[in-house]
Every structure is written in structure tokens, then in C-alpha cells.
Symmetry: C2
Subunit: 320 residues, 2 copies
């Protein structure tokens, strides 16, 4: 939640001459994103976001992320469109960092989404999955099981500081996942981080999807499972079946889940909960307190893992 | 440079219903101001700034600051206009803090202003002084000599950590200021903090003055002296006579300085340099490193104090 890099009006003005965005009227560093520096620009042609990529983003992945956003936007998905410079490139350089201009999307991210919002998210997720099918690039999911294992190896020794018994509990999950994780389900481009912060609404209408910096190739149903974790739990960690039903029905109104995908939802949801627990746990244990990066509580996802473990049937998520 | 208070879309939507600003389209926390939390809002009627006042601003001063902005804006000064709620009030409450909506001004604050920009600033400062003459409220300058003395008493013991000999040097200045500070010069509403961050330009045209949270009643010429310190020194601490000439000529194109005001410029400029040195010194010595508040180097103003000390005539600033 911070602007890391300072940009002067002079260097920004020079940078913008390479793009068809009109004259700069104002720019403000915005408290958005934990990985990059972001600025909201007003120009004579509208509003844009300028992103400077800081260390945590692998530069080699940028053509994938930006190519994907452009592909999806051109297919009608409401996501930011990277602006192509006069010379045909998308990724420029500013203040010594890779820098990109994308269109600004109006909309509000919701703290308390309703079932209607969850239905919209499900629908948009399925539309994203379909729109990505003819995207030509691919990117393995760095946070699939192998990636979890690395995070877990780095956190295992201190996991019980967060909650006694956590180390043994997660060890047992790894045995299960490494044996039973589904492999032959439909896959393609997934968003992989479609949390409420990354979805904008105007009233009940979804107005935009943002932050494609975890997008990758993986199981579609895993993306659905992540949305169940992100959208359908209440603050007291209860699962809201009405929201689950709405999200899954919204998804299936655009793309039907196969019987195998449906059957896999419980293990996928449990794995997704583990994935977010592990990144939070790793940050919790390694990032100093009081710094600029906001640390999020890993126990919220331990609670979700425990919710999913005894689920017998995907109908318990509201699948009709 | 931080957003301190988190505001949810729900509470913001409710808050905005009290104001004639249309429907909320988006809001972003912006990295602007060190005292308050600021958000840039897009609504169906335009762009606004939402400010939540944090602890460092004295709530009792808000009616003065906001009344002044409203007064100046209505007199044609390009400054933010506080939006009056449907019930006639300007200061609301949001997230447990006093909160205000002001109009958003387009424009860029400059790192490297030219002499032409300095001329515009001088002109705008004089216009502000004239426009403030019939403002009905008043506020003593909390950072006049008495205020400097408090900061100095709190910093004196450790001043030599910043630069050996600083304590004795500033002690001698205080003797001089407490004896010779001018009292009978024209006074009224001054901005008191008209640094480049607080002035917007579009090209060479000044498009806005912001941040009135140091505004108060004091000597007009003291405000001019602060602008000389803020706008006319180069990064190597040399005084740029061309910029000084432009700033003073711009000012006098709107309001003439009296002979007494002119003669007082050297001591006022030296006092103003001490004032900014002292607030920086105090923060330097008391605010922990690595926190959210950016600490600015006090030595930049020690250099200015030393520049002003031997000045014999205001013509050395470019006064024609």
C-alpha cells in the first residue's frame, strides 16, 4: 500500500510524449498494490494508471501480464487496456524501472459484497476463462504445489508460533495434496487472485477486473475455488451458502463445470486456502513489523482450510 | 506521504449522500500531505479531494482554513473550494474524523520551476494577500517567533548533532530576532507555506494554490520572504537572482511593497529560513527513522540562513 518510487513532473512529461494519451493535467501517487508504484493520471484524453514495476515483479513476466490484459480487453472483458506507445511498444522505462500506462477503470471494490455481487463475479470469471482460450502466451503457476512446498519449507520451523499444531496439520495436507491433487481437469488462463480488492462495481454491476499479476495457466476450477474462498466467507469465517450458490450459478451461466471439476471443488478449495495461508504465513514470519507492507493474518486461511477438510460434496458450496 | 485512515466504500457512499457531488465512481487513497489522509474521488459531477483530518491538525482551526479557502475561491483565487453539504455545513465526520470534500484542481507541482513560474507565484501570492483582506476570521501564526522558541527549546540540546556549532549560531539569531523583528509592516492573511508542492501549473500558467493549513495572520512581506526561500534557491543552495527578480516583480505587479517592507526583506527571509530549519530540525530529532513520515534535511535551511545573514540590501534578492 505505498508509492515506492518518486517521479518528477518533468520526467513523466517526457515519458508520456511516447504515448497517445494527450497532455498531462495531474498525477497523484496512489496507495494501491503492494508490489508496484502506481499513479493516477488525468490527461486531456481521460484517466490512466501509470505503474512502475518494483523488485517483487519478475520483469520477464511482464509481456505475459500486459499481453493478457490487452487480449482480454479487446475481447470485451472489463479490464485495464495497456496503452501502446507510438513506436508500438507497451513496456517503457521511467525512473529506472519498467513502466506501463493502462486505462483507468471507474468502480469501487467492496468490503461487504452481497450474493448479487458474487453472482456477477462468477459470471465475469467464466467470461475471463473463455476469453483467455485463444491467448497465445502461457505462464506456469509459480504458486502451484511446488511453489507452496518452497514457502512451507521456509516457514515450517516457526509455523507453530502462529498456531500450535499448525506444522503437523499442514504436513498432513501436503501428503494428501501431493497424492490426490487433480491433474486432468480443463485448464487455461486463470486470474488466480480474484479477491474483492481486484473487482470493481458500480452499484450491482461489475465494472472491472484488475491486477493480473498472478495470472497463469492452471485449472479453471481452481480459480473458481479461490473465488469461493475470497467472496463467500463472512468475517466470522462461516461459509455463506447463498453467496456460494450465486457465485457458482453465475459461473455456470457462462461456462458449465464438468462432473470431474465439480467433484474436485472441495480439494481445490482446500488447496487454494492453503496457498493463501502460506503466502501470508511466509510474510508474517519474514517481513519486519511496522514497515510499509501490510501483513495479513494467516489464521484467516487456516480457518478456511479447516472448513473445507470435511466437505463431502460440492453441493455443500451451493452447487446446484 | 501516506494514507493513515482506511475508508470503506460503504461508509464513503453514505457520507457523500450529504453533499451535492453526484454518484461516486471511484476513490483512491493518495500519497499527498503529511498531516492528513487524502483521497481522490471521481463522481458523476467531476473530481474531488476527500480529506480526513488526523491528529496533527487542531480541529479548532478547521473553520478558519475552510472558510478561508471558500472565501478565496469565491474571490477568484484558484484554490480548492470546500463543498457545502445539503444541510449547509462544510465539516462532516467520517471514520471518526473530521472530514471535508473540496474540489480537485488539475495541475502539476514543479521540481524545477523556471523564472517564469516564479513570476506567476509572486503574482498569485499578491492576489491572495489582496483577496484575503476582507476575510472576517483571523488566526495568529503559531509558527511566529514564540513558536520558534518552543521548537528551539525542544531541540537545542541536540542541535549540534546535526551540525557542530549550530546551537550557538541559532542562539545568536534569536537574540537578533527578538530585538529587531519588524512589527509595523502591513499584515493580513498569509499562506505561510507556499512551497512548490503547494502550487500547480499547467505549462507556464499557474493553475492552483493548495494546502492552506498553515495560513494565518502575519506580515505580507514575511510570506514574500518565504517564497524567496522556497522558489529561488538552486539545489546547490545558490540564490538565483533571475528567479528572485521575477518573483518580486510578479508580486509587485499586483501589490507594491512599501519602503519599510522592502528594507525588512533580509531579516524576514532569514527568519523564515530559521522557521523551516526549526520544524525540520525538530522532526529530524524526534521522529523515528523508517516510519511513514518523510523527514526533511534541516541543513538545507541552515544554508539559507547563512546566505541571508550578510545581505545588506533587498536589491540583492532582485528587487528593482
Amino acid at each position: 500500500m505505498a508509492v515506492y518510487t518518486d517521479v518528477s513532473e518533468g520526467e513523466l512529461g517526457t515519458f508520456l510524449q511516447a504515448y497517445p494519451v494527450g497532455e498531462l493535467l495531474s498525477y497523484k501517487g496512489i496507495a494501491e498494490g503492494t508490489e508496484n508504484s502506481n499513479f493516477l493520471l488525468h490527461t486531456t484524453s481521460g484517466s490512466y494508471i501509470l505503474t512502475l514495476y518494483e523488485k517483487r515483479v519478475d520483469k520477464a513476466d511482464l509481456p505475459f501480464f500486459l499481453g493478457l490484459m490487452g487480449h482480454l480487453a479487446r475481447k470485451g472483458i472489463s479490464c485495464p487496456l495497456p496503452v501502446t506507445a507510438h513506436d508500438g511498444t507497451v513496456i517503457g522505462a521511467l525512473a529506472g524501472r519498467p513502466a506501463v500506462i493502462i486505462t483507468f477503470l471507474e468502480g469501487l471494490s467492496l468490503r461487504r459484497p452481497t450474493a448479487a455481487h458474487c453472482g456477477e463475479v462468477g459470471k465475469a470469471l467464466a467470461e475471463l476463462h473463455l476469453a483467455g482460450q485463444d491467448f497465445s502466451m502461457s505462464r506456469p503457476n509459480a504458486l502451484a504445489i511446488d511453489g507452496w512446498r518452497k514457502l512451507w519449507n521456509a516457514s515450517h520451523a516457526r509455523a507453530n508460533e502462529v498456531e500450535p499444531g499448525l506444522a503437523a496439520e499442514v504436513d498432513a495436507d501436503f501428503v494428501d495434496f501431493e497424492r490426490n491433487w487433480p491433474k486432468d481437469l480443463p485448464q487455461g488462463i486463470i486470474h488466480a487472485d480474484l479477491f474483492p480488492d481486484n473487482v470493481f462495481f458500480l452499484g450491482e454491476k461489475l465494472s472491472g477486473l484488475i491486477d493480473f499479476y498472478f495470472a497463469c495457466d492452471d485449472l479453471y476450477a481452481y480459480d473458481v475455488a479461490t473465488c469461493l474462498n475470497a467472496w463467500c466467507f463472512e468475517k466470522d469465517f462461516s461459509f455463506n451458502l447463498t453467496k456460494g450458490t450465486a457465485l457458482l450459478a453465475g459461473y455456470q451461466s457462462v461456462r458449465s463445470l464438468s462432473p470431474d471439476e465439480k467433484a474436485a471443488l472441495p480439494i481445490l478449495a482446500r488447496g487454494s486456502a492453503l496457498r493463501f495461508m502460506l503466502t501470508r504465513l511466509y510474510d508474517w514470519l519474514t517481513i519486519p513489523n511496522g514497515g510499509l507492507v501490510m501483513k495479513r493474518d494467516p489464521t484467516e486461511y487456516i480457518r478456511r482450510m479447516r472448513f473445507h477438510r470435511p466437505i463431502q460434496s460440492p453441493s455443500e458450496y451451493g452447487l446446484i
